[in-house]
Symmetry: C2
Subunit: 197 residues, 2 copies
C-alpha cells in the first residue's frame, strides 16, 4: 500500500502545499481548485480524487496551521525562564502567526462557512492547540481555581484575538491616532490579555 508516484507523483501533497502558499499570499477566499489544478499541470477534475470538495482541502490547510500554532506554543513555553514569561511568549506566538501569515490566520479563525461543522481532524488539531494554551495558563497559576484559570485564559485569548481581528479588518484605522500607536496599543493589549484580572 505504498503512496508513491502514480501519474503525478503525490498530487495530494502537492495540492496541500500549493493551497497553503495560495492561502498565505491571497487569502482563503481567492483559492480556486481549477487554478490550483492548472498550476500543477493536472486536469481540473484531478483534485477531486483526493478531496471531496474545496472545503476539505481548506480544512486540511487549516489543520496544519493549528499544528504549527501548537508547535509555536510549545516552543514558547520551552524557551521561557518561568511560567509567567511562558504565558507572554505564548501570546506573542499567537500574534506572530496572525501578523506573519494573515491569510492562514483568517482561514483558521474566520473561515467563511463558520467552522462549526468542521472535519474531525480539524477540530482535533484546533483542540490540541487550545490544550497547549490552557496547560500554559495552568502552569502560570498553579494554585488558582481551575474554572478561574480557564475563564482568564478564554477572556485573555478573546482580547488578543479581538484586537487582531479589528486591526486586520481595518476597523481601527483612524482610531489609533495621535497619542496611540499600533505598537503601543499592542503592548497594552498584551498586558490586558495576561493581566491582573
Amino acid at each position: 500500500m505504498s503512496r508513491r508516484p502514480y501519474h503525478h507523483g503525490d498530487l495530494r501533497e502537492a495540492l496541500v502545499a500549493a493551497a497553503q502558499a495560495a492561502v498565505e499570499t491571497s487569502g482563503p477566499e481567492a483559492l480556486s481548485l481549477r487554478d490550483l489544478a492548472q498550476s500543477l499541470g493536472v486536469s481540473t477534475a484531478a483534485p477531486y480524487r483526493h478531496f471531496p470538495d474545496r472545503r476539505a482541502l481548506l480544512d486540511e490547510v487549516a489543520a496544519r496551521g493549528f499544528a504549527d500554532l501548537d508547535a509555536a506554543y510549545r516552543a514558547a513555553r520551552a524557551g521561557a525562564p518561568n511560567p509567567r514569561a511562558a504565558m507572554r511568549e505564548t501570546a506573542r506566538a499567537y500574534l506572530n502567526l496572525a501578523f506573519s501569515r494573515p491569510g492562514l490566520f483568517r482561514l483558521m479563525f474566520a473561515s467563511d462557512a463558520l467552522g462549526v461543522d468542521a472535519s474531525p481532524a480539524l477540530l482535533a488539531a484546533a483542540g490540541q492547540a487550545w490544550e497547549s494554551l490552557y496547560a500554559a495558563a495552568r502552569a502560570a497559576e498553579p494554585d488558582a481555581d481551575l474554572a478561574a484559570v480557564k475563564r482568564r485564559a478564554i477572556t485573555g485569548w478573546s482580547t488578543l484575538h479581538g484586537f487582531i481581528t479589528l486591526v486586520q479588518g481595518g476597523r481601527l484605522k483612524g482610531f489609533m491616532t495621535e497619542p496611540l500607536s499600533e505598537a503601543e496599543l499592542l503592548e497594552a493589549v498584551l498586558d490586558k490579555s495576561l493581566g491582573e484580572g
Copy 2:
C-alpha cells in the same frame, strides 16, 4: 429629479432591503445578485443600474448596520442612570447586535475582502459608531487621561469582539465545559471589557 416609480418603483431601495434580509438569514457570503434580482422580478442586469458591483450593495447594507449600531449606542447611553452603567449598556448593545443579527455582524466586521478599501460612506458610518462608543467611555471617566481612556476603550472593545468572534466561529466549542457556561463566561468577558485596567 424625483426618485419615484419608474419601471419597478424604486428598485434601489428594494435591493437594499432584500439584501439586508438575505444577509441576516444566510450571511453575506451567500448573497447572489442574480438570486436577488430574480426574487424581485427584474432581470439579472438590473441591479447594476444602481450599484457598480456586488460589494457596493453589501457596503450599503453594512453602512446601515453601523447606523443601527450607533443608534443602539445612543439609546443605551440615554437610558442609563449614570455613565458607568451607560458603558455596560453600550457593551450589551454591541453583544445584542452580534448575537441577534450574526450575519449582519459578520458583514460589518469580517467582510471577506477586509474592508480596508471600503467606500467613504461605509467608513463614515463605522467612524460615527466608534465616536459614540468613545464618547461614552470618556463620560465614564471624565478625569482620566484621554490616551488612557482610548486605550481602555479599544482593549475593552477587543475583548468583547474577540469573544464574540471566537464563539460564532465555533472556536470555543468544547472548551467552555463543566464549570463554565457560555452565559457565565459572557459576564466575565463583560467585566473584563469594562474592568479595572
